[in-house]
């Protein structure tokens, strides 16, 4: 059984590696978006799903990653392969800055601070015209890999896909490490965590920094994919969508973040047509899934798997 799922997973990866050149360009673009969404939701899942610290500011980190990567490339002429991690590190530094108030706040108040952070980032992007060119946005140069320019969605897909797989793998390892177990214990009971000697301050900061790093990395990749960034791609609303991903998928589950990232980022595409109808359906699906799928899609699967056992 365990072998079977391993083989299936391998086959799935292989399919994703081999198929894209034969797929419609639009589908390849969507695959890219899914990868980037999964990256964001995996990061968010670390801080919110595992460590239990509500973060409504993820769009701010994504924005910082995207703008930092772009500006490092265009203004300072840094190579993409340096600018991308640097951008993520800058986002992580911002995460550090947000983690400091999180030491005092919890629940709704923390949600407010992070929400305010994302809103401020968005406004800075609009108003700091000399750096960000405001609402006009910035053109993003395509990354170079040796003599190849990653200027198509197809080429970007291989980059996005490999980074996403790598980062999800890292997240998986973090979860099963000392750090991950500390996150969960903080989420379940701060008091108990403290009693067994977990340094709340340090781990909360780590959670935020990690989440921001994932967000920033996703932002840099997004910028390179769409080749043009402007503040409206990083509105506070996006933060809500990211939270939706981990809720719909199932919080505190790596698979949940993946499923959530994939489905929620596809949702607007499936609901094409009039934009108003699309938003309406999005809201409705979200409310309905919150009410009827309290543990997300992953919870739904788990229920099916566990239910029929007799004698338990």
């Amino acid at each position: 059984m365990k072998n079977l799922s391993k083989i299936l997973l391998l086959a799935f990866f292989l399919a994703l590696l081999i198929l894209p050149p034969f797929l419609d360009a639009y589908v390849v673009y969507l695959l890219n978006i899914i990868c980037i969404s999964i990256l964001v939701s995996t990061g968010l899942n670390l801080v919110t799903g595992y460590a239990g610290q509500i973060n409504l500011g993820q769009s701010g980190f994504v924005a910082i990653g995207a703008y930092a990567t772009t500006i490092l490339m265009t203004r300072l002429g840094i190579w993409f392969w340096g600018a991308l991690p640097l951008g993520a590190v800058i986002a992580a530094l911002a995460g550090f800055g947000i983690a400091v108030p999180s030491l005092r706040l919890r629940g709704v108040y923390l949600a407010l601070v992070t929400f305010g952070f994302a809103a401020i980032v968005e406004m800075i992007l609009v108003h700091w015209v000399s750096l960000t060119r405001g609402p006009d946005g910035l053109a993003v140069p395509s990354p170079q890999l040796g003599s190849i320019t990653l200027n198509s969605d197809l080429k970007m897909f291989y980059l996005n896909f490999s980074i996403t797989v790598l980062m999800v793998y890292i997240a998986q390892n973090i979860i099963h490490s000392r750090v991950g177990r500390a996150f969960v214990s903080i989420r379940d009971s701060e008091l108990a965590a403290q009693a067994v000697g977990i340094d709340l301050t340090a781990y909360k900061i780590i959670a935020f920094v990690l989440s921001a790093f994932y967000g920033g990395l996703a932002g840099g990749l997004y910028a390179a994919l769409v080749m043009f960034i402007s503040p409206d791609a990083f509105s506070v609303l996006e933060s809500v969508i990211y939270i939706t991903m981990i809720v719909v998928g199932g919080m505190g589950s790596i698979l949940g973040a993946i499923i959530g990232g994939a489905t929620v980022s596809l949702l607007p595409e499936l609901l094409r047509g009039l934009k108003e109808v699309q938003e309406f359906m999005f809201g409705a699906i979200l409310v309905i899934s919150l009410i009827f799928l309290p543990n997300g899609l992953v919870g739904l699967f788990a229920r099916f798997r566990k239910a029929p056992k007799i004698g338990e």
């Binding site: 919110t48 509500i54 400091v100 108030p101 030491l103 005092r104 706040l105 919890r106 629940g107 709704v108 108040y109 949600a111 407010l112 601070v113 305010g116 952070f117 809103a119 401020i120 406004m123 800075i124 108003h127 701060e190 403290q194 709340l200 301050t201 909360k204 809500v240 939270i243 939706t244 809720v247 919080m251 009039l274 108003e276 109808v277 699309q278 938003e279 309406f280 999005f282 809201g283 409705a284 979200l286 409310v287 919150l290 009410i291 309290p294």
Partner: protein
């Protein structure tokens, strides 16, 4: 000059205060932060627009719009919040976000994205008190808001329903042991705070255009509520007026471009340095 700034600050402050009251009312009793509060403001304005198209007198428009919003609030409670009563906290917060999506897109489906204006029922002539010039709009907005707040206060202080709502906010368990129906109170609370939001939307509509995006104002009211203390009703009022005044002062002495950021700066500074706000009680324990 400074007096003039204060007075115009009071007008926007009055609106913030009304919306902030709605936020605090819901939070205090149900512990939900209603992120759809801005959309309820917008709904009020659109209801007013709808009833105005029937050529009703202003006070009827006002009354009907407020009652309609009251019903919307109750619907939200019954259809969304009640099923989620045992869910995780985050789920409910996200549900209100989703609601704001829903309401905004519904309004755009019906009325489109264009801006509507709403004829002002008040006289055109400005009032003058010495050097002070007040437009009748601003004057009446402030006066009506103050009257609503007074009614609100009297309701909580002297009616049985009001008292039971207050008791629920203070201690749910004890209140239900005293025979108060918590679910009825929650319903009323959603109705009332939705009504309050709608009233501020109606008052706002003659001075700002009616559009699906007018709910943005709730973010500022939110900052106001935090400034005053998120679990204090008088705090919401004080925070509202204070934010209105701070905003107007900074618009004149610093720059009006940063007026919108200011609300968030206030929000973060208050949350970081004094999370309980001006009048709120400290419920946030140090970790």
């Amino acid at each position: 000059m400074i007096l003039q700034i204060l007075v115009s600050g009071l007008t926007s402050g009055a609106i913030y205060a009304l919306i902030a009251l709605g936020f605090v009312l819901i939070y205090k009793s149900t512990e939900i932060v209603n992120f759809a509060q801005g959309e309820l403001v917008m709904i009020g304005a659109y209801f007013a627009l709808l009833y105005a198209s029937f050529h009703m007198p202003y006070y009827f428009i006002f009354l009907f719009a407020a009652i309609s919003a009251f019903i919307v609030g109750i619907l939200i409670n019954n259809l969304v919040c009640r099923p989620l009563i045992k869910a995780q906290h985050l789920s409910v917060v996200i549900a209100t976000f989703a609601l704001s999506f829903l309401i905004r897109s519904l309004i755009r489906l019906i009325w489109g994205s264009q801006y509507y204006s709403f004829a002002s029922p008040f006289a055109e002539k400005t009032y003058k008190f010495g050097d002070l010039v007040i437009s009748p709009q601003n004057f009446w907005i402030t006066v009506i808001s103050l009257i609503i707040m007074l009614i609100f206060y009297l309701f909580f202080k002297f009616t049985k329903t009001g008292k039971s709502m207050f008791a629920t906010a203070q201690n749910q368990e004890a209140a239900s042991l005293m025979g108060i129906s918590i679910s009825k109170v929650f319903m009323l609370i959603w109705g009332i705070s939705s009504g309050l939001a709608a009233i501020s939307g109606i008052l706002l509509s003659p001075i700002s255009a009616i559009s699906p995006y007018m709910g943005i104002i709730a973010i500022k009211a939110f900052a106001a509520a935090v400034l005053g203390g998120f679990n204090s009703l008088p705090g919401a009022v004080i925070g509202g007026f204070l934010l209105g005044i701070i905003e107007n002062i900074s618009a004149i002495y610093i720059s009006s471009a940063y007026k919108d950021i200011l609300a968030f700066l206030v929000l973060i500074v208050v949350l970081v340095f004094k999370p309980a706000g001006i009048l709120g009680t400290e419920t946030i324990r140090r970790a």
